[in-house]
Symmetry: C4
Subunit: 238 residues, 4 copies
């Protein structure tokens, strides 16, 4: 039980970090697959990431049904997470966000590519999904499992997927991975937007992308940034 | 009375949110139509939105005469609000602001269009008003009812209107609607400005604009963001 | 004496506001002509504006000699202020700053023109001064009265002057005027930079510039923004 | 000993300033050569600059071996510092950072040149280093002395060197010099990026660069900004 509390606490910290670093505003969510039951995942009840506490954590099956709802309001876009956990057994955590820097890449033809070494893990290709393709006019939200599966299909084996006029969804092996990749995908977007105005941009090579993925996930890099972001977020783990 | 206090408190919160989220600086104002007397509206006395308290609330008729002035200084641009409340019985709240991101759209020919799903409610068309058209050289402020009516005429049945070299005015059914639309109109402007530099931009379809308008105003979306912004603003409701 | 303390307190508040609003960083300074002795002006000892207190205030003659130095370190660029106070009897306050948004206008040929109504008072023309013209290679600082007079000559009867690769200097009748114009000159620069990327920009007409100058300096506008900025700066007047 | 504590405290303050001013995020580091033993340097154990304390200080020889490790985790990129201290006896402090504003200059052909007077000390030329040149596909980090020496060779006798897709490394005679140059190199990058969009930019002349280098390092300028940044960082020296 103590272990599970620490595990859930990381999800709370993740919410706070994503809010504090500007990856999410009042919207967006982060989930983690249950460490002992791969057919379940944890997610806050419906509220803004900056306000999420340990008490808000709910458990869901991979079809996004709550295990014990107790009247709590749920996020409408659970299917983003459930469908990806179904399609990708290697994924342990999913971050969905509307980071401002990323959105221009969702409504234009400019590809998002890794330009900085700290973005290791974002992958060589970030595909773009348009809900209009399979579902026509909608309110743009991923509200049911069909929509979630369509998104997961476009995600494929990549680490992240762009969503037209909406935002992006980022995956990781752990909560810390997914958060770190989400933050630096945003930073990479910001800097790429600037650099492109200067003319041709040099991107990382395939080999560099592989090597920075490993480096970024290493304890030397990963623990340092997690300690820093946690402290900045102002949240004290339980 | 308790109900009216809660109603007025929402106007105070609205002032604080608009300041905290950067929609207004020291200038700008937000009003709400009286919930029981549609021929009246509430507005703070003249002070910066971040400083507004419950005690600052004043009541006006729709010609912008104070009901009980008690020596308080009034905003000079009350006619923006009175004229819109007269022309638009469906409008329950008006936000006037100088959001930086929006102003470039008021002095150029680039149209403001909905590009992100969170901007639901900003409408398919955001008309532009130039005070110079009907009134020649002025100090750019909407100081009398003739000017207010000219602005309301350009607003027409849209949700928002741009004002050349000045800012914009946003309407909503409720204070929470108007604030939410004002914030995301600003965000939409920021992201559209970035995206246009990449080349052709994909905007929301008519159907998507209608659906996101409904979605954004739903409690699931609207309550979450209001709780978040209120908390961030640091204001504790009465 | 009480009056003079209140007068000096406004200079302290001005320092804090300019720092808090991002007009100055660790450098920059603001001065005011002595209200009873037009041949004298007040300026802080040499320290960053955000740290200035009432005790730091020093008095100078218009050749920038200290009246009572008491070993305090003085700003090297006092001649900016002294020379302008000599040349312009109508000027009661001078702000010198390196606002980031303004600097691109000092190193290129793009003219700075009033585009927003809140920038009333910045004037129809903002001339550019290059220290290289009269003085060749220098460390760019205005270190002596000859350099100050050269700057004041370029300023002429305008409200503000750009300084190549350095920043700008803004004047006003009062400290509050000079601060307000300095802040909104910065905002005008930021928004003009954005708007120019969209294509042709509509600027204020001559008549609008005159009218917004008067409006911005009126108590209704001026007192509101001063109260707001003072509160934000965190400084409590004596 | 008291002197050494004050010396180390400046390194702690430098860490805090670099974090607070946005030069570093969770990554980046600053070092200083031992004031009495030029074959040694000081550096924090591996943690984010904003969190560094006096207790985190470690001593290294110029091959980057710890003098007394006591189980502490070390930064992987120590060779950036050791190699530069070996190659450049005139250098007393090294700052390595990923400042966002600088990175676009590392992946494009646009040269970084001094445009503002406060950037005195950044030098007339900022060379660019690509780890790919000598080492092929890597994780982009400078992990061994060969890589460090390659970087130091490209740095040559300049004050700073850009690192492709990674960031930059800045040197100074003292910790305060290196920090000040690192901050204003970032500011210069930000403003140059803006100014270039306006058309041709006027840069500082060679003579102006020499004069501003001296001016920026003078106590009048240097002490003022160090007091300001220290206060802003919230750190109280021991």
């Amino acid at each position: 039980m103590a272990d599970l509390t620490a595990f859930l606490d990381d999800i709370v910290i993740a919410n706070r970090i994503l809010a504090h670093e500007g990856v999410v505003d009042g919207y967006g969510h982060v989930t983690a697959r249950h460490p002992e039951r791969p057919d379940r995942f944890f997610m806050s009840r419906s509220r803004s990431p900056e306000l999420v506490t340990l008490d808000d954590m709910m458990e869901f099956d991979l079809d996004c049904n709550p295990i014990d709802q107790r009247g709590r309001t749920m996020y409408g876009e659970r299917p983003i997470h459930g469908a990806i956990f179904q399609a990708r057994p290697d994924v342990g955590s999913v971050v969905h966000n509307h980071a401002h820097e990323v959105i221009p890449y969702t409504v234009t033809k400019v590809p998002m590519r890794q330009m900085i070494h700290t973005a290791g893990g974002m992958g060589a290709h970030v595909p773009g999904w348009d809900i209009d393709g399979d579902f026509g006019d909608t309110d743009m939200l991923v509200r049911n499992m069909q929509q979630g599966r369509s998104l997961a299909k476009t995600l494929g084996s990549n680490a992240a997927v762009l969503m037209r006029g909406h935002g992006c969804t980022v995956t990781g092996k752990t909560v810390r991975d997914a958060v770190r990749i989400a933050v630096y995908l945003m930073v990479n977007a910001r800097l790429l937007t600037e650099a492109m105005r200067f003319g041709d941009v040099t991107f990382l090579s395939e080999g560099e992308m592989t090597a920075t993925t490993e480096m970024s996930a290493s304890p030397l890099s990963s623990d340092r940034i997690w300690e820093y972001w946690t402290r900045r977020s102002g949240y004290s783990p339980t």
